[in-house]
């Protein structure tokens, strides 16, 4: 069943919302408004939106340190997410987790992680719970090309295969793990091929093509929902910015990137541009409509920014809460 015009335009909207969000917080970071750091996914929006569009209501996701896009693609409240990135009381963890710890339990977004590769096993475990509880959901676990070299990738995918849990593993291969080009970090750059080690289907898709990502994840999700077990999807994409907002500002913070690479990629690999062109080709979008959508998405961010910036700082006593849940037999 091909995606409708409306669905496609919604996907475009989501991609653009992510883009505006991350360009916006990059500015905020320069102004010193972001505590710590944050990792923008500019250039990777098609993976977030393609993958999340393939999910049903009630499906879970588990994500990484580079997660704003996943959260927004999955429908989390942009205001709450932005407030969290700014460390405000109205953020999803009241400013205590920041950009690396975003979640929305009302939407089954079970959280992101500051430890690379830690989410893979957690996503498998969510799949295990789904299977044991027979709820018909699935879980989507995002991770990066760098994370794919951690032992947790191996243990997590193998166990998922053994137990046939309904988890879809989505690797955003943005070609770098911090300063490490993917081609120097592993013996075989084809991460999807590792799936065969676990007798699991593996797909390599163009991560700048939101529809390709959608289709791959959709079929993996269908398979998982039917009880046929996990899949691994590798989406080739491009990190158009520095590793983190902090490092992007640091002198030498991008020293490891070949000269011209970012410009070249921005010109040729930008998924938003690519999708916009595609939608125009399909006749779903013209310049006017594109301008309108752009303005809408910018406004979403601007409203969120008003909300977040005007939100209170967390009260000092909140530093001590949530460490333990209250006891009590349930």
């Amino acid at each position: 069943m091909p995606l409708t015009k409306e669905a496609l335009l919604n996907m475009y909207r989501r991609m653009l919302t992510i883009r505006h969000f991350e360009e916006g917080i990059t500015e905020f970071a320069k102004q010193g408004l972001v505590p710590g750091t944050g990792h923008v996914s500019i250039g990777e929006e098609a993976v977030a939106v393609g993958a999340c569009s393939a999910l049903a209501d009630g499906d879970y996701i588990i994500s990484t340190h580079r997660a704003h896009g996943h959260l927004l693609a999955r429908g989390a409240d942009i205001k709450v997410i932005l407030a969290e990135v700014l460390g405000k009381a109205t953020g999803c963890t009241g400013g205590k987790g920041g950009s690396m710890h975003l979640s929305d339990f009302s939407r089954q977004i079970l959280g992101t992680n500051g430890i690379v590769g830690a989410g893979i096993n957690i996503a498998g475990g969510v799949g295990l719970a789904i299977k044991m509880r027979q709820t018909g959901q699935i879980c989507l676990g995002f991770f990066g090309d760098g994370a794919a070299n951690r032992g947790t990738f191996h243990e997590g995918l193998n166990l998922a295969a053994v137990w046939k849990v309904p988890t879809v593993f989505v690797c955003t291969n943005n070609q770098y793990g911090l300063s490490m080009p993917q081609c120097k970090a592993c013996g075989n750059i084809d991460i999807s091929a590792r799936a065969s080690a676990y007798d699991m289907p593996g797909y390599r898709v163009d991560g700048t093509d939101v529809i390709a990502v959608y289709e791959a994840v959709k079929s993996a999700a269908d398979r998982a929902r039917k009880g046929d077990g996990p899949s691994l999807i590798e989406a080739i994409s491009f990190r158009l910015r520095g590793h983190s907002m902090r490092m992007d500002q640091m002198p030498g913070g991008n020293v490891y990137r070949p000269e011209g690479e970012i410009d070249d990629w921005a010109a040729n690999k930008d998924p938003v541009k690519i999708f916009r062109a595609k939608l125009k080709e399909l006749g779903y979008l013209d310049d006017k409509k594109a301008g309108q959508i752009d303005a809408e998405c910018q406004k979403l961010f601007d409203d969120a920014a008003d909300f977040a910036r005007n939100s209170p700082e967390p009260a000092p006593e909140t530093a001590f809460t949530w460490i333990y849940a209250k006891e009590g037999v349930k």
Binding site: F105, G125, L128, G156
Partner: protein, 325 residues
């Protein structure tokens, strides 16, 4: 209450079986927990009762064991994850410390991260340096975790049941040499709240806080010393985090003297924390410096005689008491 004598491992298995019967979110996972009933036979009969749907054998993948347990807990289950020995909790410290312990906090207080991670601990079995350790101090250092270390069949049963029901992650360290030791356990259901120490023996001359393998050794030493006219009070914290320091302090206020006995390495063991707290809160009640009986900072040898040289024994306790008194 009617009582029976059952072994530590039987009491542990009973606790798990009762809770699995009571709550279908509870399940057991780990290496060799299935038909074998645990590599140390720690959990006999559970698989026979519940089968492979709720007793899940895993590959040798310690990060996956804890990571999956955590994920399952976040999606509403209440896993009991066995890591065969605390020595290889070293492999999944990220999953325990950065993930499980912090997940509720880092998720805005939303999920109940209710799971138990169990492991055999301590030495005395001739298995050497990588199979005889006790890292309770590491876990006690980590906010977000609770830590229990029960030493009797009665305590493991009552504490394990509470741990399974607790809405927080609980680390349960089980002294491997005690699995086969029997003791009285009521036939009726009971719970022991986490965080309550027990005075295992009343006495007025000196307080010894002891847990793990050191608890039975301390109780024996207390008997030996009683014959010599020294009346030892023995406090078993049972839960190490949160630690019931009040019971310890009350005892010290009575006796004026304190020894802490644990099998873990002396330096930076939990004994140091108890000593630090007691001198802080009962400074004027102490008649002598607090002493620690612990394994000196060595690696545990396989040879049984050497192992006995390094692990603290009953005699070590007796001698330390005599030196303090």
């Amino acid at each position: 209450m009617p009582q029976r004598q059952i072994s530590y491992r039987e009491a542990l298995a009973e606790a798990i079986i009762e809770e699995m019967a009571r709550d279908d979110r509870v399940f057991l996972m780990g290496e060799d927990v299935g038909v074998l009933g645990g590599a140390f036979g720690a959990t006999p009969g559970i698989y026979a009762k519940f089968g492979g749907e709720r007793v899940l054998d895993t590959p040798i993948s310690e990060t996956a064991i804890v990571g999956y347990a955590l994920g399952a807990a976040m999606a509403g289950m209440r896993p009991i994850a066995e890591i065969m020995r605390v020595d290889w909790m070293t492999i999944c410290m990220d999953e325990i410390v950065n993930q499980t312990a912090k997940m509720r906090y880092l998720s805005g207080g939303h999920p109940e991260v209710s799971l138990v991670i169990r492991a055999a601990a301590e030495g005395g079995i001739g298995l050497g340096g990588q199979h005889s350790q006790s890292f309770e101090a590491w876990f006690v250092h980590v906010p977000g975790l609770k830590v229990i270390m029960p030493s009797t069949p009665y305590d493991i049963k009552g504490l394990m049941k509470s741990a399974i029901r607790d809405p927080n992650p609980v680390i349960c360290l089980e002294p491997g040499v005690l699995y086969g030791v029997s003791g009285p356990v009521p036939t009726e259901e009971y719970l022991i709240p986490l965080g309550e120490a027990e005075v295992k023996r009343e006495g007025k001359d000196i307080t010894i806080v002891a847990w793990g393998t050191m608890l039975p050794k301390t109780l024996n030493a207390a008997q030996t010393l009683a014959a010599e006219g020294v009346d030892v009070e023995v406090v078993d914290p049972r839960t190490l985090r949160p630690l019931d320091i009040d019971t310890v302090i009350a005892s010290v206020k009575k006796t004026g003297k304190l020894i802490i006995a644990h099998e873990a390495m002396k330096t930076c063991g939990v004994g140091a924390e108890i000593a630090a707290l007691v001198q802080e809160r009962a400074f004027d009640h102490l008649d002598a410096p607090i002493q620690r009986v612990a394994t000196p900072d060595v690696i545990i040898p396989v040879n049984r005689a050497l192992e006995r040289v390094v692990l603290p024994q009953e005699a070590t306790i007796v001698n330390t008491v005599k030196a303090v008194i």
